[in-house]
Amino acid sequence: MAGFRRYATYRQATVANIVTNTVFGFLRFAIMLAVLDAGGRTVAGYDEPQLATFVWAGQGLIGVVLLWSLPDLAERIRTGDVVIDLLRPIDPVWQQLAADLGRAGYAALTRFVAPIVVGALVFKLYAPRHMLTYALFVCSALLATIVSFGCRFLVNAAAYWLLDARGPNTLWTVAAPILSGLYVPVWFFPDTLAVALVVATPFPSVIQIPLDVLVEHGSATRQLELLGVQAGWVVGILALCRWVQARGERKLVIQGG
């Protein structure tokens, strides 16, 4: 598990990240409290403890799914170093997915737990009522990590054609928080738009869906539907990654790499 160990050494960066995520937890939850204050005891089907868990577990989840990352792969494409990946027996997409899952595993023990502990100390968090929810959440978080990996991979892969991924990376960095439900739950959006976001875009599969599972938002059927959408996106985005990778490799070869 080389991925696990490599990321274990990034201890300082992890601590710094946890501090930042905690600060944002307070900022975001302040908005939720203000919304509840003026709007009523529940909003979009969430009550206060559920919103608390949504925000704090969300801040923890960012580190696991790695919503934002440096475009390392794009840089390697730009310099041509990416050719080394092609020499290995395993397909580059699976290679990088495996490494990313290792990273996520370490993050689950550190960056995920810390903000939740802080949140629980200061506020009242919603604890799932059914044991099954915990298991479903773990599954959903795993699926979310894969979808996030896929999106990050695609953003970086733009470098095969654009020579740097700065533009797509900016787009992703800016759009992901709002569209994934990190800023506010997507159910705050108008219904049709929210449903369209969940089904037709990968963003909510990264943040909104695992959190909705965790806070047991909506009926059990609804939760299974959401998991289904997530699974669909895992298949879809990985297929897209493989396709883009194949096209990118061909481009490299043609350029005389």
């Binding site: 300082q12 905690t22 600060v23 409290l33 020579l163 533009g167 959006f189």
Partner: protein, 252 residues
Amino acid sequence: MRSQTQYRASFVADVVGSVLFGVLDVVGVVVVFRVTPALGGFAFAEVFLMTALAGCAFAAADLVVGNIERLRHYVRSGLFDVLLVRPLSSLAQLAAMDVATRRVGRVAFSAVVVVVAAANARVPITPGRLGLLVVTPVAGAMIFGAVFVATATVAFWWIESGEIANGLTYGGLNFAQYPITIYGALFRRLFAYVVGFAFVAYYPALVLLDRPDPLGAPALLGYASPAVGVAVVVAAALMWRAGVRHYRSTGS
């Protein structure tokens, strides 16, 4: 060699990203007010004005000293020494590098949003108010800019500090976009007064909107932003000097 079309495509993506940046900020506030009539005792038009002012200040700061976040990369790689050798002040050099067009685009877009927000909030068109409307993002930019520099300066002592800086820079933006009445007392005191983020948008907005402060502060504070801006800039400059001195003395 980069072809013209590749360059253009990347540029277009950059521009779209910049506009999206400003638009999503606005979308954020709109969405929140879909589910609530007020936030911290303030209506949509009022919060929209605060968000617009904060966003413009941030974009302007990013334009002028945005590159400072690269500091820790330069320190780590030793490139900073190259900057120290040149006659221009090291800070000015870092700031001058790569003034991307998209940052200018962001400032322009956010300025338009400020005008729209002020019109939407029916800010009275008096010389005083207009002056305040222009001065506020400038003072706010000084506050954000000083925070950018100060948090980046920590890299002189602690290389991996970069991530924490985001809590104060982007966190500061987030904080300043909303009325400070929504925050808990401790948090508010730290961000609003110690760092001065309340002067980026909240207090000036109260004056522009002719609203007394629910927290009971005097209306005069709305005009204090430039003074606060100067104070934090001076503090950041001192931190920078101390940082460079420390860097030199530890014999890179």
